[in-house]
Amino acid sequence: MIKYIYGDALDAFPKLRDTMFKDRAFQFKERLKWDVAVTDEGHEMDEYDALNPLYMIYELPDGTHGGSMRNLPTTAETMINDHFTNLTDGVQIISPLIWETTRFCLSPKVGKLASRVAASVCLAGCEAGIQFGLDSSVGVFDARMVHIYKRIGWEPEILGASGEGKDAISAGLWALDEASKANICAKSGISAEEVEGWYNASFPSISSSDILVA
């Protein structure tokens, strides 16, 4: 299942937290050879993790990380506006209705579950967008992700790209709407109810009368 967790609440889920940052180190540092910093504990973290992002994390049955992504509002500091405006003709993408999604990561141990986990993480992003009234998410991604998004059924609009072949990186915009959700659900076999269930479990709501009498 997916959990939505803000950075400052990660400590309540130490196993999930540690395995996520370790899986990120494996994916971005070891496998993709990105120039990212890894702490002594083996956690890949950067300055955007310090901005209290909202993580969407697939939790495996043993409580460890299966896949995740990281979200921040584009009205404050984002990776794309700080470092990748070369991909957007110098345009800073700033909108209350657009969030930035970064560090899309899958655990190496999900194996055959990989496409389901990836689709779940994307659905979590879509659902948040629908629930919070957002339009889209923006992000920078590398060439190998193009096929993954295509398989998932959530292809971004490409805003710009640089580099060739497997070294290419692109800036993309993903629609956060019912159509995207329905498409990913259909391709993955994950039901819309399940997705809504993740959201409701992470952002529980009580009735207004209960607040006062409680």
């Binding site: 803000y6 400052d8 209290n52 909202l54 921040l72 509002p73 009205t75 404050a76 500091e77 405006t85 957007t88 003709d89 110098g90 345009v91 800073q92 993408i93 700033i94 909108s95 209350p96 209705l97 948040a128 919070f132 009234g133 957002l134 609009e157 490409i158 805003l159 710009g160 915009l173 952002f203 529980p204 709501s205 009580i206 009735s207 207004s208 607040i211 006062l212 409680a214």
Partner: protein
């Protein structure tokens, strides 16, 4: 005009803190809610607020240091998604007692609060508040949440312009691509023609125009173009 257009119309003429206060008061009537609050917590040298709660309640809130138990404030400090009050943490006795007192003072049972994040730790909060059943509030939220996201952002940008006019660090300025897009639009080129000229896809062009629109506080492209003109950001 839609409610949002009416708001933007008034926003365009808002030049002073008093204008912002009237703008916020106007939201009550146009959206049919009981209260609206904009609060710039960490923007200028002093906190700034425009709101419709009674001054007695604000004084009492201050004297009782309710800011320490107010779940809206706690939630908005650490989260950035629009928050329905029913999703906040009311588990503390202090929070529930606080709500009881708030309601006695004319604050209503339903609320939607939008945390606003800007560059360099800029933080503000926008809230609308009304008295109704959970079901009708749910319906209202569904219909107008997006409006509230935009309104909160637009009020915030205008307040930043008014109270810290010297602050150039934010993103009022448009990139050459954005001004090019608006200039071509103003000259009557179609989106297809502009995309060709700028050698980008129409999708990308749309994102750039939307981006410029949000920076300018403009509802549509015509409004964006006229705003850009009036601020001297584009010229023929």
């Amino acid at each position: 005009m839609t409610k949002l257009e009416t708001f933007l119309d008034v926003l365009a003429g808002s030049q002073t803190p008093n204008d912002i206060q009237s703008l916020v008061e106007g939201l009550r009537e146009s959206y049919g809610v009981s209260n609206a609050v904009y609060h710039a917590v960490n923007v200028g040298p002093m906190p700034y607020a425009a709101l419709t709660y009674s001054s007695e309640w604000m004084q009492y809130y201050h004297d009782q240091k309710f800011v320490q138990v107010d779940p809206v404030v706690k939630g908005a400090l650490r989260q950035f998604h629009p928050m329905d009050w029913k999703q906040l943490d009311w588990s503390g006795r202090g929070s529930r007692e606080f709500l009881g007192e708030a309601i006695t003072a004319g604050v209503c049972n339903q609320g939607l609060s939008v945390p606003i994040r800007g560059p360099n730790g800029q933080f503000a909060l926008f809230t609308i508040n009304d008295n109704c059943s959970d079901d009708s509030w749910e319906k209202f939220s569904k219909e107008y949440k997006r409006d509230m996201m935009l309104i909160s952002h637009y009020i915030h940008r205008r307040v930043v312009e008014i109270i810290v006019p010297e602050d150039e660090s934010d993103t009022r300025s448009l990139s050459p691509r954005e001004t090019d897009s608006l200039r071509y639009l103003s000259l009557g080129f179609s989106r297809g023609q502009i995309a060709d000229k700028l050698k980008i896809s129409e999708h990308t062009l749309r994102v750039y125009i939307d981006s410029a629109r949000h920076k300018l506080g403009a509802l549509n492209t015509i409004h964006a173009v006229t705003t850009a003109f009036s601020r001297g950001l584009i010229s023929f």
